[in-house]
Symmetry: C2
Subunit: 430 residues, 2 copies
């Protein structure tokens, strides 16, 4: 890791800059696949599954038999862990329900909001070496609490045409409606446009490789909403003299193992801690199965030494980390100063792993500094707000003249007229 | 208007389909302008202002003197209308504040959300013949309530380098921090990347022509968040025998005057009402200043006669209108059946114009069927949620084993290790 001691404000910029990821070279290929799915539906899906996932599928949908089989293929330990995680995620997300108030903004004018589910949502779960069943829980659990009528999940099958049983178990526990053996761009296209088998959804969630990210960007322009823009995962650990070097090292490594482009940042006021953490990293790294990945991402990572906690929190808010671990004595106090972050972990015992799996918070979070404008996935991500208003004849009298004046000044006389026909009718009655 | 009596379900699809707007031919031009702004800053902004808005600007920012001058250039009637509208918009949006709850999801594991302002936001207000000062109120008012630290507004100047004084007054009332005389793609670029004069913002709001829409799409991929995708404005009026044909006609026309691509839809169970509305439209249209625009958009619009209110509400939820006027006797009841819409107006006196200007609801709403997944602009649009969690040593014992089990099964052993170093430490102590 690159150690920066008391960097200048200009050097802060360098620390806060994320690697620019340009997927424009993939754009034409991705668009071709999407166009084919839009035009040919299932036939194109099958063709691309054969080409990219090397499998010829008879049924695209996971059958009830396959779902039942997965009961026996997953250990009791993992199943009960999934259930505990599901319970905690449910509790936290259920607490996020929005209670709208009716407001009389002016005499006779009542306005309110109502939060309603996005009726059909699509979840994408990538394949690859590790089955991301935790992401299934993180997306399907709040979708179910929101009341989404149709929860579609797409995930690539292996060469035998099977989906990882842990993914099936997580989907079962969280209440997914339909699971399809479709991966990559063809999955995004199928959910965005609908095919004979796959229902068209209104919003697509979930991580993926650069092809999936590019496909989500393209369909989000006018076909379907998406959760948020994607970038490599990242953690910032804030530490002081009191922090446990072994815990800090473990947290930095847990992020670094995600991928070679992961971002890991340690910001501290303690010069003595730095050496201890560096030593602990070497110690812990040596026994990690994914040590090659972790050490490559550490090469691009920074340890920053600053003068005081005010500077630390200023840099933190400028960086806007996806995950922020506050491993300081006064962590609660520093948490109050957070203005930009995805998810904050307070104190020595609150590790990112807890939130990644089972504490109850969501792990689908804004990376790449997007935390300055985006929330992580939460109950609201699966709902939309509709506004309602009811205006009485009194209301027409109280706001009518202002509406007519403003409409006239915007040169929209039909807008003025829609109010004046009512205003005149009310005036006549009185 | 095209009258459809008792259409089949297949014909419903036709009614619900919006015109496809393809701005891909503008993409290269827009990207060139954006790239120039990113690289050259103010110098490029000035060059494009000269090229597109035909004006050579000395200062890009509106001065305090210009702001003070606008006090005398706007009538007292309009100023007091702006103040009333601002007051109602403030009241409704202030009521939308989210109150987070702390939840103990598991023994020793506490999670909560906090809603915090997007610190810097940019508002784009188009120019053209009519000054859209109402949109200034609709965007800046909730931004101010949210607590956004910097509220930047860009709007094109006229050929004398001046901004419409009603826009300046609205900006003053609503509390905009900085106003710039910049229009079109160069405005979006300046706010997305920042220049010497214009601060970089984290989220951009506001309507615009196809160039502005395309620019917002491009910068939203990885530089800045945007409010929502754009499409032509639209209204659906639901009416029965009890509805006032003159009001219904006025409402349809108020939408039709927006632009030739506006969408207007009347859905009713009353055959006799249709004739009355058609007659009223001819009558009212003849005296409208924008009758050419309105009659062209009516040519592409539909009146749909259906058997009963269940069918009416089913079609409505499939169409997902931006504005929905329920002008029926049992409007309150039908409002309960709405699942997809931007903003709903209940009863004969609740006209869209009221919500466009002064009732308190926001007029920046999802068009093009996006109401199936998107909310209109509201207080939350200017805020983001951060999640927090605090785990005690008890919490480590309650979720630790599940976290370790799940991490191991996802083949992320550094994730497992981040929990096991803590779990072992807690076990040792006990």
């Amino acid at each position: 890791m690159n150690i920066l001691k008391y960097p200048s404000r200009e050097e802060w910029q360098k620390v806060c800059t994320r690697p620019h990821i340009d997927n424009s070279s993939l754009r034409q290929l991705v668009m071709n696949v999407l166009d084919a799915i839009r035009q040919e539906g299932d036939q194109a899906v099958r063709r691309y599954e054969k080409e990219f996932d090397k499998v010829e599928l008879s049924d695209l949908q996971v059958s009830d038999v396959e779902l039942a089989e997965s009961d026996h293929l997953v250990s009791e330990e993992l199943k009960s862990s999934l259930r505990l995680a599901h319970q905690n995620i449910s509790r936290f997300h259920a607490s996020q329900a929005y209670e709208s108030k009716r407001v009389e903004t002016c005499q006779g004018v009542t306005c309110w909001q109502k939060s309603l589910p996005v009726e059909k949502v699509g979840l994408y779960i990538p394949g690859g070496t590790a089955p991301l069943f935790s992401t299934v829980l993180m997306l399907a659990t709040p979708a179910r609490i929101a009341g989404c009528r149709e929860i579609v999940l797409c995930t690539p099958p292996n060469r035998e045409g099977k989906v990882n049983p842990a993914i099936l178990q997580a989907a079962k526990i969280a209440g997914v409606s339909k699971i399809f053996k479709i991966g990559g761009v063809q999955a995004i296209g199928a959910m965005a446009y609908g095919t004979e088998s796959v229902p068209k959804v209104y919003k697509i969630f979930g991580p993926g490789n650069q092809f999936v990210v590019c496909a989500k960007q393209i369909v989000s322009v006018s076909d379907v909403a998406i959760d948020m823009p994607a970038g490599p995962s990242e953690v910032e650990v804030v530490a002081d003299d009191s922090s446990n070097a072994s815990f800090v090292a473990a947290d930095l490594l847990s992020q670094a193992e995600h991928g070679v482009d992961s971002q890991v940042l340690l910001v501290t006021t303690s010069e003595s801690l730095i050496e201890k953490v560096v030593d602990e990293i070497s110690l812990q790294l040596s026994v990690l199965p994914r040590k090659d990945i972790a050490s490559r991402s550490l090469d691009n990572s920074h340890i920053v030494l600053l003068r005081d906690m005010d500077e630390v929190m200023a840099l933190t808010n400028e960086y806007a980390p996806e995950h922020l671990i506050l491993a300081t004595t006064e962590a609660e106090l520093h948490a109050e100063q957070v203005r930009n972050a995805g998810s904050v972990f307070i104190g020595n015992y609150s590790c990112e792993s807890a939130g990644d799996y089972a504490s109850g918070t969501n792990h689908t979070l804004p990376t790449n500094g997007y935390a300055k404008a985006y929330s992580g996935v939460c109950l609201d991500s699966f709902m939309k707000r509709i506004t309602f208003q009811k205006i009485t004849s009194e209301g027409i009298l109280s706001i009518g003249p202002s509406v007519m004046e403003m409409a006239h000044n915007e040169q929209l006389d039909a807008h003025r007229n829609a109010m004046s026909v009512r205003y005149n009718a009310v005036k006549e009655k009185n």
